[in-house]
């Protein structure tokens, strides 16, 4: 390759890539030039001067920093010359001269670059007499991160990360000379969502995890490769444990997924694992009260309860609800149990059949990084998937990719140049129609009659032209547009635009739950079999029947809300695994109370579990093996890292026990005794997973191909969307959505993070002024269905005429407000 050139280091010729940094070229040749400030993921800075080498120049040899010097053909360097060695040693000496050397109590001890460099390049003995300088040793930068200013060697990695990756330059260097310290800017917070990555980046023990501080010495930790299950990105983690207890999460590099980053939810929000509130033993309702029982007894009760209903009412009276947060193994076995043994297709999960989602998720996460145009519709990556948001920000900043945002709120990504639309709920189809028309016109194609009236504004034309001309656009839509009343129309309308622009095959969906793709892959849907095969597909059904050893019912089942609604009718028993419908909407309680039999399998005694006849304590994903399929269809293994709490058992194991007891004569088809073995069976049931195995997933996971599932998208008219009526007093349109710092069950259990959640209903400043309301005032948001009381947050990110109530607020579940218009209802807003 012409790209390869020759340079000389200490008289030895080595091959290097033209333009790469000397540090990289040298490393390939086995010369490891010491560095502090330089980091492969950050722009070169050249501040610490640890990497000095001599370079042959026009005016003789000069010292240069290897970490900032791109190499070119014929360049000559001296790494081991006396002058270079002296310079590096001198630098290290001045660093050490002021470093506190409190290694014995430092969280970084044993994995510290400074310790390592001092051993390798240090002078052995310092000859300074002057006292070390003193600074703050315990300076909290935020609730999550603490800074020891004495240990800081001012490498700027933390400063650069926040600027270069999250585009939130929240840290800087203050004062000057030897008084220089890292700090926040006056009056501001360090609240970047991926701020914890600076702990991993810090070469010394200056930045530490406040939640995990002083709990361990790094060298006694056991490391387990895992992933994060807080969102659909599936960032790779290393879970560090000691005594089988989780001590901390650190990011694990996977270039195809998260690069080397995780967000603060993934890093810090693991308090749920060791929460006091975890269920530790099975419970059963005895004399009207939930009381502890043994596992065999619990299983016996579940089997009897379900069988009793089947015998009396038939299998159609039983349903199973799984979860997009749980593993493929758990969801697969729940589906298999319901279909093969109980004999019903009543299976689903919350984000299952109700979501008008592209089941394949996004084309690929790499596409987000390579994008020349970004299109985001009804999703907010900054809140739903912060690491992806950082990739998008970088594409916007470094590749000049314009950002087209279509969202009811002015989301963070609207700070990048592009075209931004904020249609009110109900107005989306008209906007997409206009974009579709403009796209067709831009491509010189005929505009169908039903689009003739669409009004094309200049902005619409600009956005449409951008997309038509893009080579490599990254296009996603999200839950805000794909869920609830009217979503079928909106999704068809937006699909029309993308198809009309010539990019139909790039339209992806941002699955915000960890295993939403996987749960559908393994067939936890009322009308779909594993592998996205239709229930009506006889061939597929026969294949599965062979694998499962039973007949599969052909009648499509009920979906998530259908099952709950029918609890007052034909559904008599439900098996709910990892879901909490009552927590979403309290009126579901009276429905579930009407059931003859309710089993809940969970980590916690949720509002739903409180109603159950039998409660089964599940082990968390950290305490069991499992696979998860992220939003780019990458199947990834999360290995067991910690010991299960109390008597809790992995979801898959519980289902296996129940199945064997439920149908002893079928036990041959329920023999698998490990999660990897269950996964092996899944690879036979799901064609897209064929050839995978627990081992083959390795450290990087394996994606199934975008075109392994054919999806046809066409330009088509759709049913007109009738928005919810705006009539007194219901004069505001409700907006919902996910915020990263929510108050959901798993998150709220991390005590240190509990005060990060921002509980509020949001209004535009004009609306607040119109109602004579101030920041923090308690307001009521009332629909035809229910009313919530919340403190007010005033923000110009909200459109006038709308009120934003985030999901997962403690004691204020927005679901309570949903009526027949679901999340797109209209509400009254007034002082409470």
């Amino acid at each position: 390759m012409s790209d390869w050139i020759t340079i000389t280091i200490d008289g030895k010729e080595i091959q290097a890539r033209r333009g790469e940094l000397l540090t990289e070229a040298a490393a390939r040749a086995g010369i490891h030039i010491p560095v502090f400030c330089s980091h492969p993921k950050l722009d070169p800075l050249g501040a610490c001067r640890m990497c000095l080498v001599e370079m042959e120049g026009r005016r003789g040899k000069m010292l240069v920093t290897a970490c900032t010097t791109p190499v070119n053909d014929g360049m000559v360097f001296y790494y081991n010359s006396e002058r270079a060695r002296d310079a590096r040693q001198g630098t290290l000496e001045v660093i050490l001269a002021n470093h506190p050397l409190d290694c014995p109590i430092c969280d970084k001890g044993g994995e510290c670059d400074l310790q390592d460099q001092a051993m390798e390049h240090g002078p052995g003995k310092s000859h300074y007499w002057e006292p070390k300088r003193h600074k703050e040793k315990n300076y909290p930068l935020s609730d999550l991160i603490v800074l020891d200013q004495e240990r800081c060697i001012l490498c700027w990695r933390c400063i650069r990360y926040l600027d270069e990756w999250e585009d939130k330059p929240q840290l800087g260097l203050f004062h000057r000379g030897s008084d220089s310290v890292i700090d926040k800017f006056p009056g501001t917070e360090l609240d970047a969502y991926t701020s914890g990555n600076i702990i991993d980046l810090c070469p010394v023990g200056a930045l530490t995890n406040r939640l995990a501080r002083f709990q361990f010495r790094p060298w006694v930790l056991e490391h387990t490769n895992s992933i994060c299950t807080h969102c659909g990105m599936g960032c790779n983690l290393r879970i560090d444990t000691r005594d089988f207890r989780v001590r901390r999460n650190v990011a694990r590099e996977n270039m195809a997924v998260n690069d080397a980053w995780i967000c603060d939810k993934g890093r810090f929000a693991n308090g749920f694992l060791f929460s006091e509130k975890r269920l530790t033993q099975p419970l059963a309702r005895i004399d009207g009260e939930l009381q502890p029982i043994s596992w065999p007894e619990a299983i016996q009760r579940v089997v009897e309860g379900l069988k009793g209903v089947v015998e009396k009412e038939g299998p159609g009276a039983v349903g199973g609800i799984g979860s997009a947060k749980l593993s493929n193994e758990a969801n697969y076995l729940l589906g298999k149990f319901m279909r093969a043994l109980v004999g019903t297709n009543n299976i689903d999960f919350r984000e299952g059949s109700a979501l008008k989602a592209e089941r394949r998720g996004v084309t690929s996460l790499q596409d987000a990084r390579d994008a020349d145009l970004i299109v985001i519709m009804g999703a907010d990556p900054s809140e739903e998937m912060p690491v992806l948001a950082n990739f998008l920000k970088r594409a916007a900043r470094r590749r000049n990719a314009p950002v087209i945002v279509i969202h009811p709120r002015r989301i963070e990504l609207t700070k990048y140049p592009g075209v931004h639309f904020h249609p009110l709920p109900g107005d989306e189809p008209a906007l997409f129609d206009a974009l579709t028309k403009a796209a067709l016109q831009a491509r010189g194609q005929a505009v169908p009659n039903w689009l003739a009236d669409a009004e094309v504004s200049d902005e619409v034309k600009e956005a449409a032209t951008l997309l038509v001309n893009a080579q490599n656009p990254f296009i996603i839509y999200g839950t805000d547009y794909a869920w609830g009343y009217g979503s079928a129309s909106i999704v068809q309308a937006l699909t029309n635009w993308i198809v009309a622009s010539g990019h139909g095959d790039r339209l992806g969906f941002l699955h915000s739950q960890a295993n939403a793709v996987g749960a559908a892959d393994v067939g936890l849907l009322p009308d779909m079999l594993p592998g996205h095969q239709r229930l009506a597909d006889e061939l597929a059904r026969m294949e599965l029947e062979k694998l499962w050893g039973s007949k599969i019912p052909t009648q499509p089942g009920l979906g998530y809300s259908g099952m709950i609604a029918s609890a007052l009718g034909r559904i008599k028993a439900l098996y709910i695994m990892g879901a909490d419908p009552v927590g979403e909407k309290s009126s579901y309680a009276e429905k579930l109370e009407a059931l003859d039999f309710l089993v809940v399998q969970d980590l916690f005694l949720t509002e739903t579990a409180k109603l159950a006849d039998v409660v089964l304590p599940a082990a968390s994903y950290v305490e069991s093996n499992g696979t998860f399929t992220n939003t780019e269809r990458r199947v990834q293994a999360a290995a067991q890292a910690a010991r299960a709490v109390g008597d809790s058992l992995p979801d898959w194991a519980i289902l296996m026990h129940i199945a064997r007891r439920y149908a002893p004569d079928q036990a041959d088809f329920w023999r698998t005794s490990s999660a990897p073995a269950v996964f092996a069976e899944i690879t036979r049931a799901v064609p897209q997973y064929a050839g995978m195995s627990w081992e083959s997933l390795g450290e990087r996971g394996q994606p199934w191909a975008w075109d392994a599932l054919e999806v046809t998208r066409e330009l088509a008219p759709y049913a007109k969307l009738e928005p919810a009526p705006l009539e007194k007093p219901f004069t505001f349109r409700l907006i919902t959505g996910n915020l990263l710092w929510d108050e959901g069950n798993t998150f709220a259990a991390t005590e240190r993070m509990a005060n990060l959640g921002h509980k509020a209903a949001w209004l535009h400043p004009d609306d607040a002024a119109g109602l004579d309301l101030r920041e923090g005032d308690l307001i009521a948001v009332r629909s035809r269905e229910a009313s919530l009381e919340l403190p007010l947050h005033i923000s110009s990110r909200i459109q006038p005429g709308t009120v934003f109530v985030p999901f997962s607020l403690k004691d204020a579940p927005v679901g309570e407000l949903f009526d027949e218009f679901g999340p797109r209802t209209t509400v009254a807003v007034y002082r409470a």
Binding site: P44, L45, G46, A47, C48, R49, L52, L63, T65, T68, R83, D86, A87, R88, G90, T91, E93, V94, I95, A97, N98, H127, Y128, W129, E130, R133, I153, L154, G172, L173, H175, R176, G177, S178, D179, S180
Partner: protein, 406 residues
């Protein structure tokens, strides 16, 4: 001694507030001449004059002018008027007493290099210079020297003033760019050099005030005239800021290469205080000391460089025998420890250590190895620091020990 001042010719003669008076004293003739010559030949004049930068580093101005002239636009011209080297005051006097000269020179540089915009970065402690320049810029816009189609050349040029806020480091050219860009003034890594990627990442010509003002007579009188003054490899008239223990301190214009003795005796009226010369600090805090044996040294860039010293900004601070040099060194060490920006370790810690050690010595608690320690720190700072501040922070102090002044 029959040298006729050129750079300071108008000082005390012209009314600094009056554009017409400036015009009446030869003002804007150099610019008119440059427009006659055209950009390319104007740059050639600067090259032929072999003008070395007067800001301290003595870099050939012609090379920078040519590089920016050849670069793709948009590009900038910046006048470095931060003048914060201790003992230096030449630029202040030029700006206060003859502000139009600097403005004319910046416009001329913009025309020659094809830059559409210029900045003058004025030291924060120079309120009068700033006021005078501000008024002068406004007059120049009114008179058409700034704005569109300057002197019928078709060239459009705009000029903005920026004020520093008291940091020595902001005189370093890349830190100065950061400061103009609204950021904290930390030096950048070089390369890339300003001529490739300077202000706002664009090709930028940055010159010291005196360097720019020197271009006016070069264009008017020609490079041969310039080369006829001073030594061949370091030619031209030079401004010396003479201060300390001399009878007549002040700004001196002399041919480059005037000797230290001549400067003190003929221009400064001789040593004051004890009347006996002990040492002179040449080049400011970043410079070097010269002792009694070196009084006949010609004060030009090359002669001083040959002996390991530097002319720097042309500051000359004289000390008579009654001065306690350790206290002077302590002052210098404290200056650097205070002004180190803190971006790189060798300098931020080296300047602190250097100060601590000298303070200890002043307090009478010196140790046997102290001098070696200062040399080691000095070497680390010189070799490993990012910018000139750290690289020169030990030079005055080490030279004082070398001369055994203490």
């Amino acid at each position: 001694m029959n040298y006729e001042p050129v750079l300071t010719a108008r000082i005390g003669v012209v009314d600094p507030a009056c554009l017409h008076d400036y015009e009446a004293h030869g003002g804007f003739q150099a610019l008119a001449r440059a427009v006659e010559l055209g950009p390319d030949r104007t740059v050639a004049q600067v090259e032929a004059a072999k003008l070395l930068g007067r800001g301290g580093a003595a870099f050939p101005a012609g090379i920078k002018w040519r590089a920016v002239h050849n670069a793709e636009g948009p590009k900038f011209v910046v006048a470095n008027a931060d003048e914060s080297e201790p003992g230096t005051f030449k630029d202040r006097i030029l700006m206060e007493k003859d502000p139009y000269a600097l403005i004319e020179a910046v416009i001329l540089a913009g025309y020659a290099t094809g830059a559409g915009k210029g900045f003058i970065y004025v030291r924060g402690e120079y309120p009068r210079a700033y006021q005078r320049l501000r008024q002068a810029v406004a007059r120049c816009y009114e008179a058409g020297y700034l704005g569109k189609d300057i002197l019928g050349s078709g060239h459009e040029f705009h000029l903005e003033l920026r004020r520093g806020a008291g940091a020595y480091i902001c005189g370093e050219e890349t830190a100065l760019f950061e400061s103009i860009e609204g950021k904290r003034g930390y030096p950048r890594l070089k390369p890339p050099f300003p001529t490739e990627a300077g202000l706002f990442g664009r090709p930028t010509l940055i010159n010291n005030v005196e360097s720019l003002v020197s271009v006016l007579p070069i264009v008017l009188r020609g490079p041969d005239w310039f080369n006829s003054i001073g030594p061949a490899n370091s030619p031209g008239p030079k401004l010396y800021s003479l201060s300390g223990r001399v009878r007549k301190p002040g700004l001196v214009e002399a041919p480059m290469g005037v000797t230290l003795r001549e400067l003190i005796e003929a221009h400064g009226g001789g040593v004051s205080g004890s009347g006996e010369f002990q040492a002179a600090l040449v080049g400011g805090a970043a410079g070097t000391f010269l002792g009694p044996d070196q009084l006949d040294t010609p004060l030009d860039f090359h002669s001083l460089a040959k002996m390991g010293a530097a002319l720097g900004s042309g500051a000359v601070i004289v000390f008579d025998t009654s001065v306690d040099m350790m206290q002077v060194l302590e002052r210098i060490a404290a200056f650097f420890a205070h002004e180190s920006c803190g971006k790189c370790y060798p300098c931020q810690l080296g300047t602190m250590r250097q100060r601590d050690i000298i303070q200890r010595m002043v307090a009478g608690q010196g140790r046997p190895g102290d001098l070696q320690l200062l040399r080691d720190i000095g070497q680390t700072m010189r070799d490993a620091s990012i910018c000139g501040l750290g690289q020169t922070a030990s030079s005055a102090i080490l030279s004082a020990f070398e001369l055994q002044l203490t």
